[in-house]
Structures are given as C-alpha cells and as structure tokens.
C-alpha cells in the first residue's frame, strides 16, 4: 500500500491566561513605553494540545480518532488539514486533502442554493468544472431541488445542512478529514452520508473521522487512534481501541447533573430539583450509559415548605426536540401525599433502558396532580447513551436505527432457511 500521510512528532501549544489578542494596541503601547526592552511581560501559561504525536496512514485506511472532549482530537484534525500550524513537528501529505470540520462552510445567507453550491464547493477545494459535473447529483442528494434558486436565508436549518453535506459528499480528495458532522441530521440522511463515506473508502481514499459516536467509528473505521491529553494513547484496530477506551471509563465516578444552578426554569419554586443522578441498580454512579443498561434516575429536590399532593415527572426528547415519552409517577397511580421541608430524593428505576445511542434531553417538572400549579418546570438535563450490542448479535446498534428498540425475538416458519 502507498503511504498517504505521515505525521512526525507533532506538537501544538497554546498560550492561555492573558492571550496576546486580548490586549488592545493601547495596552501594548503603554507596556512598550514602560518597559521597552522586555519581549514578554509575564510568563504565559502554555498548554499542550498535542504533544509528540506521530503516526502514518496508508491509502484506503479509514481511521477513527476517539478521545474525550479537550483531548486534542480537533486540534489534530486542524493541524492535519493545515488550518493551524503545528508548534513543532511535520505533516507530510501526498495529494489533495479536504477538511470537513463543519457542514456548509462559507455559506452566504443572501446567495441562492445554486450559488452557494458553487461557493461552498470551491471553498472545499473543488474546481469549477467538477462542480458543474456533479451539480445535478449534488442537488438530488440534498433533496432541495425546489428551492435551489431561493436565497438560503429562507432555508430551514435542516435544508442548509442537507445542501452542505450534499456538496461535501461529492468531494473527491485523496485524504478526507471529517469532524463530527454525522452527529446532525435525521436517520435517513445519516444513512446517505455513511454510504458516501463508504464509497470513499472503497475507492481507496484515506479518511480521518472524529466522532463521539463510537458505534459509527466501529462501523466505518478499520483503525482507531485514541488521543488522550494530547498524546496517542493507543493506535490499532478500531474494535480494540474502542474497547480499551470504554474500559478506561469504568470505575470513574461521575456525579449527575447539578440542577440547582439552572436559571431558566418555570414554576413558583416552593420545591425545586437540585440534582439528577444516573445510577446503576445497586446505587453506583454511571460514567457511561449504554443502550440496554439498567438505570436508576435519582431526582434530588429541595422543598422550601411543607407541600401536599405532588406529582414528579419528566419528558424525554430527542436531540432534535421530538417528544419520545413522558414519565410521571401519577400515571402509575403512585401517590405522594406530603413532602416535608428540606432535601430529599425520589428514584425511578428502569430495568432496561431501551433507548438507542444518542443524546437526549430531559425536561423535569414538579406539579400538583393534574398539572397545576407548577412548582418547578422545564428543568433541562441531558442524557448521553452509548451504543451497545443490544441484540447480543455482536453488532453495534446505533442511532441510524431510530430512538428506541424493543426486546424482540425472531422466529421462522415455512420455507425460510435461517442461520
């Protein structure tokens, strides 16, 4: 195989604390007058976003880059795609590299869809004749044919996204760098996008893919690089790297979401949620919740006064705001007749969380039975679900397949041959 990209002892540091660009010209001038001979006034604190990162990739490799927030994944992508310069080290790329760090980079609101396809295409590195060639396919992929000559300021955010991704899907680089762009868009569209990326892989392109969606990384990538605190912690087969990455979470104590500081909430406030914890059945805090896990939601509250006849509950939304379900103990005929002033909690036990991976929003409320008055309402919390092998088939079921799954069994009869 041909070597496509070579990265040697890459380092990238940022100065934190008082950044140079936070200074106005006046401050620097005053500074200069006061002390004309010093180069820098105070020692800035240096943080290393990348420290001595070396690897190389061959043609046709699809490499998933995983790691926690702030580990240096995005910095690595930015250095690879030459957006930012490394502090030291070398990147050698053979051929054309395209970076997809955002969908629809450079879109201009006043321009029409058609005009933006050309603008965005050329920003992403396509030649005009290439855009001409692919134009019809791009429009078809995006599904906004009707509005192609409408200024995109009239587009919905979904339409923009589709148009942006449609252009990106027709890029033909030797190396493609993709950051988390699959996280947006609906399931059918994501399917299209993954197909497009698969196409790149099979035509021998090198792809770097950053995602928090581990199932997508496992599906798409042959190799994984795990970045931790700016260094490569592990480089190997995608499955092995993901397994080690996941294992690193166990034993970690992440307390739940602190709700006491949330400000934009409704209600009269006699009783407020203070904290939401995600626990296992034996009361241990979860660091990472996977599809199918048993889950205890522990709702902590603080009551300012003695209250009678309360109803606790929450609504669960998809990331895009679709209501998935609403839960409340009142529906179970479970009555809370009195709450004394002070702190307390109630638990909701879920034997098996049948949510597919993704990010979900919770909106918590406390009301009197029947919904009025509202004591505390629209308290926002989020729930992150990671993929797991929910059907015990060895296959990661990710959010391409919707929001929920049912415990299920397939049986065959007649002339169907299975196995």
């Amino acid at each position: 195989m041909t070597r496509q990209i070579e990265v040697q002892s890459l380092c990238k540091s940022y100065q934190i604390g008082k950044l140079q660009h936070d200074l106005s010209l006046r401050e620097q001038l005053v500074d200069f007058v006061k002390n004309p001979f010093s180069q820098k006034r105070e020692k800035d604190e240096t943080i290393w976003a990348l420290k001595d990162v070396s690897f190389h990739a061959d043609e046709g490799e699809v490499i998933g880059i995983i790691g926690r927030n702030g580990a240096g994944k995005s910095t690595l992508l930015k250095v690879l795609s030459r957006i930012t310069h490394p502090t030291s080290g070398d990147v050698n790329v053979k051929g054309r590299i395209a970076a997809l760090l955002e969908v629809g980079t450079g879109f201009h609101d006043e321009l029409t869809g058609r005009e933006n396809v050309y603008l965005n295409g050329s920003i992403l590195g396509m030649k005009k004749f290439e855009i001409d060639q692919h134009f019809d396919a791009i429009v078809e992929f995006s599904g906004v044919e009707q509005f192609i000559d409408t200024p995109i300021k009239r587009y919905s955010s979904g339409m923009r996204l589709r148009l942006g991704f449609a252009v990106a899907a027709h890029l033909d680089p030797d190396v493609l760098v993709v950051d988390e762009v699959l996280a947006v868009g609906d399931a059918s569209f994501q399917k299209k996008c993954i197909k497009a990326m698969d196409g790149l892989r099979s035509s021998g392109r090198t792809v770097f893919f950053v995602s928090h969606n581990l199932a997508a990384v496992e599906n798409l990538c042959s190799r994984g690089i795990w970045i931790d605190a700016g260094k490569i912690r592990m480089d190997g087969g995608a499955k092995e790297v993901i397994a080690s990455y996941m294992a690193s979470f166990s034993g970690e104590q992440v307390s739940g979401t602190d709700l006491s500081t949330k400000t934009n909430r409704l209600g009269s406030g006699e009783i407020r949620y203070t904290k939401l914890e995600y626990l296992s059945l034996d009361g241990m805090p979860y660091a990472i919740i996977r599809s199918g896990d048993a889950l205890v939601l522990r709702f902590h509250y603080h009551a300012a006064a003695s209250l009678h006849e309360l109803s606790f509950g929450f609504r669960l939304f998809s990331e895009m705001g679709t209501l998935i379900t609403e839960c409340g103990h009142w529906m179970h005929g479970f009555r809370i007749s009195k709450v004394d002033p002070g702190d307390g909690y109630i638990d909701l036990e879920i034997e098996s969380l049948t949510l597919l991976p993704g990010r979900y929003h919770l909106s918590l409320w406390i009301t009197a039975p029947g919904g009025r008055p509202v004591y505390d309402g629209d308290v926002q919390a989020s729930l992150e679900i990671e993929a797991s092998d929910v059907y015990r088939s060895g296959r990661m079921i990710d959010n391409r397949y919707g929001f929920v799954y049912f415990p299920q069994r397939w049986k065959v009869g007649g002339s169907v041959v299975s196995g």
């Binding site: 310069h85 980079t105 092995e240």
Partner: protein
C-alpha cells in the same frame, strides 16, 4: 479487514510533496478559482435586496461630487486649476471611493471571514485580494459615467485618456497593500476596526481631492507627496484633462512608496498568517 498498526519507529519516511514548502506563487495559482469565487461573492452580495442595486456604485461619487462642487467649488471657491468643477471633483472621487472601499473591505476581510479561517485551509492572502477585486467593478461602472462628462464639457480626447485604466494598477496595488497590512494587524488588534473609517476620513483631507496640489506653496508640496495617494489621484485628473498641471516627480514618489507598502504588507502578512486561525 482490521489491520493493527502500532509503531512505525524504524521505518524511514519517504519523500513526499511537502505543501508547507510549496512555493507561494504556485499555490496561489492553484487557488485562483477560490479567489475568483470569493470576489464574485462580494460583488454578488453587495447590492442584494437593495432597490437601487448597482446604481449605488454611481450614486456615491456622483452626489459627493455635487456637494463638493457647491460647497468647496462655489461657496469656498477653491481653485480647480481651470478644470470644470464637476470634472475636477468627479475624476478624483472615483479613484478615491475605489481606494477607500477596497481598504475597508480588505482590512476587514480576515476578521469577517473568521469562520472560513478556522475551518478550511487556503492561502489567506486570497481574502484581502478578493475584496480588492470586488470593489473594482464599482470603479469601472463609475468610469463609464466619465463619457458623459467628456461629452458634456467637450473635453478633447487624447492619448492621455489611456492613462486612466493604467493608473488603476498602482491604485489597486496601493489599496490592496495597505488593506492587507491592516487585515493582518486587525486579526490581532481589533483597534483597526475603528481606526479604518477614522483614518479614511482624515485621509480625505490630506489628499488633493478637495483642492489641487498647487494650493500649497511649492516648498511644502513634498509633504503632500509622502501620501502615495496624492500623486495617483492628481494623475487621474491629468488622464482626463491633459492641461491639468500634474507633478510627475510626485507620481514617481507615489509609485515608489506604493511598492514599499506592498512589499512590507506581504512580508508582514506572511510572517503572521500562521497564527491567524489560532487568534482570530
């Protein structure tokens, strides 16, 4: 399918095309289409959703010319060296508006495209360059109006008229050079955002637009010549009216200063561009 590759410590790196060392000019050529598209975007967007549209390109110099003719020409009675007052002002205002809008657009280009800088690679200098090209169209449209002046004031047509399009080149270089320098500075010091409109206002008065160079005594004229715009603007007047007393030495000085500004600006830009994406 799964290939496990862990360390590559001992393999020798193969020689590859190193983009960072790729010559700048060659790279600019590779990105010429993006340059064209960005300039096209600037032109396209400028008059979208306006009623008068491209007429705005003419209105600015035209109305300023009218006011100047009345206030400075008639009321203050400033000399125009025998040139009809409207011609005197219009021939200076056209290049002036081209210069000032290019300077503003180029100076703001990097900061206003911060989204591009942090998301995609391209030779950064394309941004101020595209801004300069975008304003050129306004200048060309305005220049068409000159035909009206030539006919109305019965100005004899001569070879000097050829100087008009030729002078656009140094004017563009000057505007692009100063704009590029300010753009790079603006990334780091947002003071520039406020300094540009203010500086342009002041520049209007220290450039022979309202008055001809000759209103100053001969021994002070060199002061005016430090401003490279002076020589260029006066020469634009000469291009239209050949009897206009142009100072060739001042033009020569302007061209020299223009070159220095361009070289200095590109040098400073190249030196600082590596950090643009980190600090913009």
């Amino acid at each position: 399918m799964d290939t496990v590759t862990v360390t590559y410590m001992h393999e020798k790196p193969r020689v590859m095309k190193n983009y960072a060392k790729c010559s700048t000019l060659l790279e600019l050529w590779e990105y010429r289409e993006l340059f064209y598209f960005l300039a096209w975007r600037d032109m396209k967007v400028r008059y979208k959703q306006t009623v008068l549209g491209v007429l705005w390109a003419i209105m600015q110099p035209l109305f300023t010319m009218l006011i100047f003719t009345v206030v400075f020409g008639r009321v203050a009675n400033i000399s125009s060296e025998g040139v009809p007052k409207p011609v005197f002002y219009f021939s200076a205002l056209l290049p002036w508006f081209y210069f000032s809008s290019t300077l503003t657009n180029a100076g703001m280009s990097l900061v206003s495209s911060a989204g591009l800088l942090t998301k995609i690679y391209f030779p950064r200098i394309i941004l101020p360059a595209a801004a300069a090209l975008g304003s050129l169209v306004d200048f060309m449209i305005g220049s068409v109006l000159l035909i009206g002046f030539i006919v109305y004031y019965d100005i004899p047509i001569g070879w000097n008229l050829l100087l008009w399009p030729i002078l656009v080149l140094p004017l563009t270089v000057l505007a692009f050079g100063s704009g590029t320098f300010l753009a790079a500075l603006n990334v780091k010091y947002r003071d520039i955002k406020y300094a540009i409109p203010f500086g342009i206002q002041l520049l209007l008065f220290v450039t022979p637009i309202i008055y001809p160079t000759n209103v100053f005594p001969e021994r002070f004229q060199w002061l005016l010549a430090i401003n490279p715009l002076s020589g260029l603007i006066e020469s634009f007047r000469y291009a239209l009216v050949p009897k206009y007393p142009v100072h060739w030495d001042v033009l020569g000085l302007s061209l020299a200063v223009t070159t220095v500004i361009l070289v200095g600006a590109v040098w400073y830009f190249k030196r600082t561009e590596k950090a643009f994406a980190d600090i913009v």
